[in-house]
Each structure stands twice: as C-alpha cells, then as structure tokens.
C-alpha cells in the first residue's frame, strides 16, 4: 500500500465496474500499460509546442489519475491542462517534468495494489 493513492477512490472504482477483482486488475494493468504512452505523447507534443495535443493528453491522464486515486498526479495533470488551455507554454513545460515524476510514482504505487486488498 502507498500513501500516494486514495483508497476510497480505488474502492469506488471497483464498485463502479461491478466489484469483480479480475475486472479491477485488468483495468489497473491497462492504466499501467498506457500511462507511459500518455507521458510520451505529452513530451512529443511539448517538443513541438503543440499545446492542444498536450491539453488532450493531460485531460486523459487527469481522468485516469482521479479514477485510481492518484491525487498528486491528478492535480498536476489538471494544472497542466489549465496551462495548455491558457496558452502558458513555459508553465506547461515546467509542469510536464513534475507530471512525469508523479506518473512514475503513481504507476509504481499501483503495481502493489490488488482488488483483493481493497475489500
């Protein structure tokens, strides 16, 4: 277990998808597998200063982070999305490195989470 994750959020997620541990583990694996892709997308978009692509990717990351109770990642992603919307390139680039760190931490924390531990 990790202090990085909000267990109440994880329990709600389990509840929403019907309470089956197998389903939860599958969804968690999907997060772990696709989150690095979102970071990759963010970094490439940042290299091209494509704020719109960054906004869409950070929006997805924010939603996923909220579902999995990764509060820090969710807040940083939300801030990044806001920066992209307001056209703040410097702020966005600055936030991206923090988001990258937070994503890594959340992903590692999730590796140790299993549905059976949430009950």
């Amino acid at each position: 277990m990790s202090d990085l994750l909000d267990l109440d959020a994880l329990k709600r997620l389990l509840d929403v998808i019907g309470g089956e541990a197998e389903d939860f583990d599958e969804l968690r694996d999907e997060f772990i597998e696709t989150s690095p892709d979102l970071i990759e997308t963010l970094q490439q978009a940042a290299a091209h200063t494509d704020l719109d692509a960054m906004r869409v990717a950070s929006h997805s990351l924010k939603g996923n982070a909220r579902d999995f109770g990764a509060t820090a990642l969710a807040e940083l992603s939300a801030a990044l999305e806001t920066a992209c919307k307001s056209g703040d390139v410097d702020g966005a680039i600055q936030l991206l490195s923090q988001v990258t760190e937070a994503e890594k931490a959340a992903r590692h924390a999730l590796l140790s989470i299993e549905a059976s531990n949430l009950g």
Partner: protein, 494 residues
Amino acid sequence: MDDNPVMRMKMRKAVEALGHTAKVAKDGEAGLQAMTTEAFDAVLLDIVMPGLDGFDVLQRLKSDPDISHIPVIVVSALDDEIESVVRAIELGAEDFLPKEFEPVLLRARLDASLAKKRFRDQELEYFARIDRLTEAAEVLESGRFNPKTLGLDDLASRKDPLGRLATVFTGIASEIYQRELKLKQTIDTLRGSLWVIAIGIVYGLTPSLSRIVMSDGATPLGLMLWVTPIIGGVFVGIAVRNGSFPPLTIKNLAFSMAWAINSVILLRLVMLSSSQHVEAAILSLVLTLQGFMVFGFSAAMGTDSATPRRLMGLLVGLFGVGLVLWTQIEGGSTNTMWLLIALLVPLILAIEVMMMAGFRPKGLDDIGAVEMMQCCALVLVAPWAFIEGQTFAITTENAGSLGVVIVLMAGVTIGSYLMGFHLIRTAGAVFYSQTAYTMTIAGVVWGVLILNEALSPMAWIAFAVIVVGMYLVEPKSDGKEIVIERKFSSHKDV
C-alpha cells in the same frame, strides 16, 4: 466513445455490470460509423477527444435522421467543464454524467435515457403504422380494392385503435371487391355469351350447307379438296402478316396430322354423308351432345371445375337432345342408322376441343396450328380424292351455286376457328362448349329458313330445355385483378 483506453474499459465494464451490453469506439469517426451499421439504445460520449471531439460528434449525429433519435449522455469532468456540458446539451445531448460517478448515478442516467428511447421507438412504430394505413388509403383511392393489395392483415390483427382502423379498411375493401368481382363476372358472362351466340350462328350454317352441297352433286373428298386449301391459305396469310410460322418439329407434325384426320377428314365425311339422310335441323340438335362430352373430358382431366351447377346445366342440355332423338326414332321420320352415325359429329368436335386444350404442343400457336393442320389434311385428302375419282370442277355453270357454297363453308370454318380460339382463351373450354347449344339453335333456324324444314312442337320444347342448360354453365374466372375507375378523389379536390 472515448479516446482514452482506460476510460473506455472502465465505462464498458460499468455498463456491463448493470446488465447491458456495450460496444466501445476509440474516436468519434469510428463511433459514428458503428452507429450507422448497428442498432444502439444510448451513447456515452466523451467531449475532449483528438480529431472529432464530442461536439463534432453530436452535431453530425443529430443531423443524421437515421440515428438522431438515439439518446446521448455526455461524460464530463465537472470541475472546469460545466460550460462544455451546457453546450453539449444545447447541441442535443440528453443528459450528462460526471467522470467520477457512483454506480447508482450511471444506472439512473441510463434507465432514463433508455426509457426515452423506448418511448421514441414506440412512437416511430406508431408513425410507421399510420404510414401503412395512409398507403392503403392511397391504394383504395386508386381503385384497387383487393384486400391482399392493401397488405394490412398483420395490422388488422392488433387490438389497438389503429388495428381497428385497419380492420375497417380491410372489411370495406373486401366488401367492395366482392361486389365488383360479381359485376365483372356478370359482364364476362354476357360478353362470353355474345361470342357463343356469334359462333353458333356461323357454325350453325354447317349442316344446312352440307345438305345443300351434297344435293348439288358434290362428293365429300372432292369438296374437301376445294375447301381445305381456302382455309389453309387464309391461315397461312394470317401467319405471314403476323410474321410467325410454327416450327416444323415431329411433335407439331404428329399433332397436326392427328387433328387433320379427326377434324377435317372424319368430321367432313361423317357430316357430309349423314347430311344426305338426316335433316339439317335434327343434325344440329344432335350437335348439343358435344357440350356434355367436353364437360366429361374436362372434369376427368381436371382442366376445368365440375361444380354441381355446371353438371346440372349440361345434364339438362343432354336431356333436351335425348328428347329430340326419341321423337325422331319414335316417329320413324329418320333413318335410325344414319341418326346414330350423326352422333359421331359431336364426338369428333368434342375430341377436337380437348385436343386443342390439353394435347397441343407448346410453341404451336392457334394460327400456326390450324395452318399446319390444313396442310396435313390437304396432303392426305388430295391423293385419296384422285384415287377414288371424287374430284370435280367448278365451272361457270355451277360457280353460282356450288362455288358460293364452297366459299361459304370455308368462311364458316375460318370464322368458327378464330372466334373459338378467342372464346377458349378468355372463358375456358367448358364455357366454349356452350357453343354446341347455340350451334344447335342456329342450325335449326338455318334449316327452317334455308331448307324450309319443319320441327315438331316437342323439338321446340327441347330448345327451351337446352337454353336452360346453357344458363346453368358459367365461364371460368380469369383471375385478373380488378381496378375500378373512381368517380371522386379526396386530395385532388383540395
């Protein structure tokens, strides 16, 4: 529809956990494509997507009449997207769902949308049924009252008000259709009867002409040698005009040969020989038997329906003929042997009708059949007439009497064939068989008018009996759909 794979998986599992089936699409384009090929009850739509975003999808979806009725629930993070939700609802979204939701909320939103969809589906079905009733009304207005054409049977079996309306439509249409059907049948009977009378008047000349020609010194084979080429020539002429000749197959030739032997050689031989000994009027009365014989053959072969009424009609006719034969034999005015030979005439005629109706090869049309048959008859008769020495010449002396009668005999045969084909085609063999009665009546009248023959009162009574028999036999239905000319039109007057 969501570009985020984690969100797609979460939503699919959440919807399936509520007992529904779900399909996911990774972008707006794929989602819209799926909606045009499969049936969906509701759509959960993400707003922030690359390419087509949620607003674009909503706009396209609502502008497509095939899918615009499917309710859309917008899935949105509430914190900073409340304006987006408002815009989505303005664009036609049914409802919204926050991204972080409780299961009960998803259930409530989905149930509400599905209920609306079901109501809308019922509404669409109701409109479709109204459309079908309107189409049926248009069919009625165009004058087609056949209840089958309306196609409202399934609607009429429903208990609701539209079902009741469909029942009334079908009922009224059926009533009018039956009435029109009866009227058409009456007209058909009347028209058929006129043809029957015309054929009778023309063919009824045959016994009198046969008697005249034989008394003028003609021989049966020699006469055939004159008449057959005239008839054959006319039918070849018609075939040339129509541009159609019968194919010279063995089947066609065999049929034509059999027909020529029956309907030219045997018929003329028996008719001409017996006409020397039996009065034309009595010969004509005997012809009525043809009707009974055709009916018997038709019923046995199943080509025409043998209703009790028709059976009764033909039996009444037969009784009339029996009455005539009895008065002749009892009175001793006619040679009994020649009277019995004369009975072969209706048999030969009946066999001809049945041959044409049941045994004619396919591809041999009416004109071609007569043309080929007359040629066969000529091939058979010509050498026989020469061998028997029965040939005779038409000279300036006998052209006025014998020549005219020969041309008349050929004309009678040509006219009878042409009218007979038409009648068999439009009214059937049984109805055609009634010509035997009119031939009889006309034959008797011709005998009285041309040859001054006299008939006993009993024979006149037999006429009345024969006419009753004719009335009882109805023509067969042609099964064509009836289209009625309408006197009014509701929308054209507006």
